[in-house]
Amino acid sequence: MAFGPHLLLALLEGLVSAAVLSLTALGLSLVFGVMRVVNVAHGEFFMLGAVLAWAVANALGGHPAAGFFAALVVAPLIVGAIAWLSERLVLSRLNYDPESTIVATIGLLYIIQQLALTFYGPEARPVTPPFTWRLSLPWFGYSAYKLSIVLFSALLLVATWLVLTRTKAGLIMRATQYDSETAQAFGIPVGRVYAGVFALGAMLAALAAVLIVPISQAHYLMGHDPLLLSFIVVIIGGLGSLRGTVVAAVLIGVSDGVISMFFSPTLAKMIATLAVALALVFRPQGLFGATAR
């Protein structure tokens, strides 16, 4: 393949990972923005989404599309319920103290990971994509399913944005983010808002995982990279800023795709992580304005 088409392929692959990444990172960003909680277990909610997608599709059998779309609904709901429960049982009792919640979510990470290993096993298992059309470009064929991931993620992002800015639930969330004490004084059930936001964040990660699992595979350790990348995206985008998160996800996803196609992925990850750590040291408010605190 010539350089041009090769670059186009890298860009397309990067766009797919950017789409999934922006959903995952948005979940992390929402939780941090509203609750000021750094959820280290976020990657495990992602992994749980993928593993449950496999379980649902496998249990249902029949046409791949039926299994996939069932998974798209069921897996996020189960993950959301688990997140809601862990918020109510653990995080709320810690009064959202930053250090304690980080330690608690690390504990959650190990528990979820180990349970996935015990019940799902160490194998990587694929889920059949719902459809297998290929789009023929002049230089190579490209999976239509991958492009539909981009489209569907974009729709979800717009929907989340509409919910946050145009509905009463979004207003309540933003009020809680802005000043939880005043919100409480105005009769907003802050505890329930927190539980809802935590569940919503986990569901976004699970949705992203269900979308990606037909083209990668479900594995019990798959949560690590999305967690790291989401951190990177959320930091670059400015903690708690939705627009910044999406811009940064596209930036990181596409450049990660391009760099790892032409260079070693380990080197790409090293450079990206180092750059972000330095960004956090020297520009803690993120590259896109919004203040962190």
Partner: protein, 321 residues
């Protein structure tokens, strides 16, 4: 912090613990003897972590990089440059201290959540670079330090670190030095300033203390102690591997310190001992030891945030350092 100061009692307790560990060398069966040597080395790692987290209140999620820096600094200088054991040990400590200085200069510009994430990311970069330069570091498989490289002479005597009794005594010596250094440090003026920074950094600065310099100093000391543990681990057990730089080895010292009691001098040993014994016992009938780590972490922050010794000190033993 504590109302009453009884240094004599505190020193007596520490010496008693050391004497007990010394006596155990002659009493324990072979398997537990080896296990305890390993636990003492890891407890030194936990003590290094405790200085930063417990006393200065800086929660690092990347301490594995200092442990691994000591481990690789010692191991690689033996393997590639043919250093003798004592020199390699010092090289390991120097690597850890230098890394801690660089990381401290950068990461201490942030605080709170940002500090945790930045330290985690630096550790991630460190771990990835160990894998990237696999030709030099052995990558994922790690490197074995052969037995002849772990011998060294003192005067006319030859010390063989592969001999169990020698290994145990070396681990105990390291542990004793680290314990006494910690004890001295936290009772010193610098130690009190650190606690003041933990409790209220703004006020400490207003009182005229250079908080950044104090935090940087404790970061370097903490990194050096952690590196000493890593270097000892490499030389005593003859193996260096990239998994020791992974996230898990950043979380474990946090777990050990939280369980034993943050900001207590003997807490790290107690925490390491208890967790090691639990996971060692559990691993004989289940492979799910990470599940135990997770559950213990959550239970600790929920119900026991001061850890065992911290709770004892708060309730009954105010003199405990």
């Amino acid at each position: 912090m504590s109302g009453e100061h009884k240094p004599a009692k505190a020193y007596a307790l520490h010496l008693a613990v050391l004497a007990l560990l010394f006596a155990l060398n002659f009493l324990l069966p072979a398997y537990h003897h080896g296990l305890l040597a390993r636990i003492m080395v890891l407890a030194v790692f936990a003590m290094g972590y405790n200085l930063l987290f417990g006393y200065a209140g800086l929660l690092s999620l990347g301490h594995a990089m200092f442990f691994a820096a000591g481990m690789y600094g010692a191991g690689l200088s033996v393997l590639h440059f043919g250093f003798a054991v004592p020199l390699a040990f010092l090289a390991g400590i120097a690597c850890g201290a230098l890394l801690a200085l660089v990381v401290g200069l950068l990461a201490l510009r942030t605080s709170g959540v940002a500090f945790m994430i930045v330290t985690m990311m630096f550790a991630q970069v460190f771990a990835l670079s160990l894998i990237y330069f696999a030709g030099f570091t052995g990558g994922d498989q790690g490197l074995v330090i052969p037995q002849p490289a772990r011998l060294f002479g003192v005067g006319s005597a030859t010390i063989d670190l592969t001999d169990p009794a020698v290994r145990y005594m070396a681990a105990l010596a390291l542990f004793a030095v680290a314990l006494l250094v910690t004890l001295h440090l936290v009772r010193s003026r610098h130690g009190r300033v650190l606690v003041a920074i933990r409790e209220n950094e703004e006020r400490t600065r207003m009182l005229g203390y250079d908080t950044f310099a104090n935090k940087l100093a404790v970061t370097v000391v903490s990194g050096a102690i952690s590196a000493a543990a890593g270097a000892a681990f490499a030389l005593l057990f003859g193996y260096v591997g990239a998994n020791f730089a992974g996230v898990q080895y950043s979380i474990l010292p946090l777990l050990w310190v939280l369980l034993g009691g943050a900001a207590t001098t003997l807490g790290p040993l107690l925490g390491t001992l208890v967790i090691y014994v639990i996971t060692d016992t559990a691993s004989s009938f289940t492979s799910a030891w990470l599940l135990i780590v997770g559950i213990v972490l959550i239970l600790l922050v929920l119900f026991f945030p001061k850890g065992v010794l911290g709770t004892l000190r708060a309730r009954w033993l105010g003199w405990l350092p």
